[in-house]
């Protein structure tokens, strides 16, 4: 669990002609098999960080880049994008921009075909990937005619087919229905637990973060504001307010109770923790009568 698979050392990036750096002196490490979530307000640098972690920066995004990103032991500056792609997969936040074939199955297999993976293995991986994103049966459909949420799931399946060691997902559930969202998080947990895959996900969905993520990295104005467990992040009012973080409703109830002068034994971030903490509070006051 302690093997470092991704290492970011003093990394900064500025887009061409931009007046300011989008990312400033970023330092952090990700352990193999970890599920790390990146949170932060619009414009905080989340998508830019995804591009940096996947090698898109510096290889296919122009700009001023300092620092070092080491992906599975490879410094991204010293290795080509195809070399880095053997280890890392990325799904961008606009699935439309990634779709260009006329059949879902071709779309899902395309990336893996370029990595020269044997055909029967690609077929197996693609079937599995479509199954896990709940898109089995859509193999022959035209991807451009799918709904936004379906396109998003096809894009995730495309990355999964390559079976990367590290998977980066930029807002992969932004267009998904509530249960579809939970399913993607469950898939991520399965990838992590069964395949020891490392997952880095940008998302605002705090309830699922509390349920599934190991750690949260909070970006604010291009800098790392905090990196800690979801419990400690959501409880930290200063960080939550500064970065405009969405907080699970169960935690909001706790904050509101504390604000009205009712102290709690524990700070809940998950639904079942809330049931436990608030029920205990009520039973305790009742017992005192």
């Amino acid at each position: 669990m302690d093997e470092i698979i991704l290492d970011v050392f003093d990394a900064s990036f500025r887009y061409p002609n931009a007046p300011a750096y989008s990312l400033k002196h970023i330092n952090f490490q990700v352990r193999k098999g970890e599920f790390l979530v990146i949170m932060g307000e619009n414009g905080a640098g989340k998508t830019t960080l995804c591009k940096m972690l996947s090698g898109i920066i510096p290889h296919s995004q122009e700009g001023v880049y300092f620092g070092d990103v080491t992906i599975c032991g490879l410094n991204s500056k010293e290795h080509t994008l195809p070399e880095l792609c053997q280890h890392i997969g990325i799904v961008l936040d606009d699935p439309e921009s990634q779709i260009f074939t006329t059949e879902v199955l071709d779309e899902v297999a395309f990336g893996a075909e370029n990595l020269e993976i044997p055909t029967d293995e690609i077929q197996r991986n693609a079937d599995w990937a479509l199954q896990v994103v709940r898109m089995a049966g859509y193999e022959e459909k035209d991807p451009t005619r799918l709904s936004g949420g379906q396109k998003q799931r096809v894009a995730i399946a495309s990355a999964l087919t390559m079976q990367p060691e590290i998977l980066i997902l930029d807002e992969p559930t932004s267009q998904l229905d509530p249960i579809g969202t939970i399913e993607v998080f469950q898939v991520v947990r399965e990838l992590k637990e069964k395949y020891n895959m490392t997952i880095i996900m940008v998302t605002h969905k705090s309830e699922e973060i509390a349920q599934f993520a190991d750690r949260v990295l909070v970006l604010h104005e291009g800098e790392v504001l905090a990196m800690d467990t979801p419990q400690r992040i959501f409880r930290n009012k200063e960080i939550v307010d500064k970065a405009w973080l969405a907080v699970p409703q169960v935690s909001m109830v706790a904050v509101e109770l504390e604000q009205s002068g009712i102290p709690l034994d524990a700070f809940p971030v998950r639904l079942e923790e809330g049931v436990e903490v608030f029920s205990a509070l009520l039973q305790e006051t009742e017992a005192r009568i």
């Binding site: 307000e41 605002h204 029920s279």
Partner: protein, 279 residues
């Protein structure tokens, strides 16, 4: 009985490839309603919206918007009655400044300059964009870009505004700002229809919820009544907001006679009980 502004009557819509996206859907939306349409991906929500704004014409059935059948009016004319904010607002942006972007629609209505100026000012004021009027729209934050698109729709002064997943990819501040603009539009007497997957926002803002599942309308009613039907909602891959589920899970220790829709409501109930016990 309030005035109906949209009447959907036995609407069936089949795409040219034969896929039936909507099946025999009927409902009426009344003036000044704030309606959320929810349901799983592929349930037919976006197809329904495209029918409401005339981009699709019903395969069977009729849609009457503000007294006019959508089959009998051009999309351009209909757009003065129903404003439509697309799922990806960036696709609606093209001008060099925020003000020009908002001016484009009213200009095409061939109104006189004073009227156009007044509408542009009003739309910018209502969306908090006055300080950004000279900025290049594509250089703005995602939240501000979404506001520009909503402002350009408001400037057309439609009776009804329809927003397709307006808060996708927005942070907490962006979500609240966008939904507050929609609420303000309702307060000024207009009708709002929003498609979204963000159930906490539905609970906070909508008066009525329509649930779509596989091209059919499976639930329709006041927000609290719809969110009380957790099992039925699951059919369309929807869950009530977390606070609603939390309140239900605590019903043995905290019986409440209505469906909880906000954190303030629940913390208020808990606090009241704690304080009553301490008396």
């Amino acid at each position: 009985m309030r005035e109906p502004v949209i009447q959907v009557d036995h609407l069936t819509y089949t795409y040219p490839n034969g896929f039936e996206a909507l099946h025999d859907v009927s409902f009426t939306i009344e003036k000044n309603d704030f309606v959320a349409i929810i349901g799983q991906n592929g349930a037919g929500k976006s197809t329904l919206l495209k029918n409401l704004v005339g981009l699709h014409k019903p395969t069977q059935g009729n849609i009457i918007v503000d007294g006019v059948n959508t089959r009998e009016i051009s999309v351009a004319r209909l757009s003065t009655k129903v404003g439509f904010v697309l799922q990806n607002p960036d696709r609606q942006l093209f001008a060099d400044s925020v003000e020009e972007e908002i001016r484009f629609g009213p200009q095409n209505l061939k109104l006189d300059k004073a009227e156009i100026d007044a509408r542009v000012e009003h739309a910018m004021e209502q969306t908090g964009l006055i300080r950004l009027r000279r900025e290049f729209p594509m250089a703005l934050s995602a939240g501000d870009r979404a506001k520009v698109v909503i402002a350009s729709v408001i400037a057309m002064q439609p009776e009804i505004i329809i927003l397709d997943e307006p808060t996708t990819g927005q942070d907490r501040r962006g979500c609240a700002q966008i939904m507050d603009i929609a609420k303000e539009f309702q307060r000024r007497g207009h009708t709002v229809i929003v498609v979204t997957h963000a159930m906490s926002l539905v609970a906070e803002y909508a008066d009525r919820v329509i649930v779509m599942c596989k091209g059919r309308r499976i639930l329709d009613g006041p927000t609290a009544e719809v969110f009380a039907q957790e099992e039925k909602l699951k059919e369309s891959f929807v869950l009530p907001p977390q606070v609603t589920r939390l309140a239900r899970a605590m019903s043995a220790v905290l019986p409440v006679d209505h469906t909880i829709l906000s954190t303030q409501e629940l913390s208020g109930c808990i606090a009241a009980r704690v304080q009553a016990n301490q008396m």
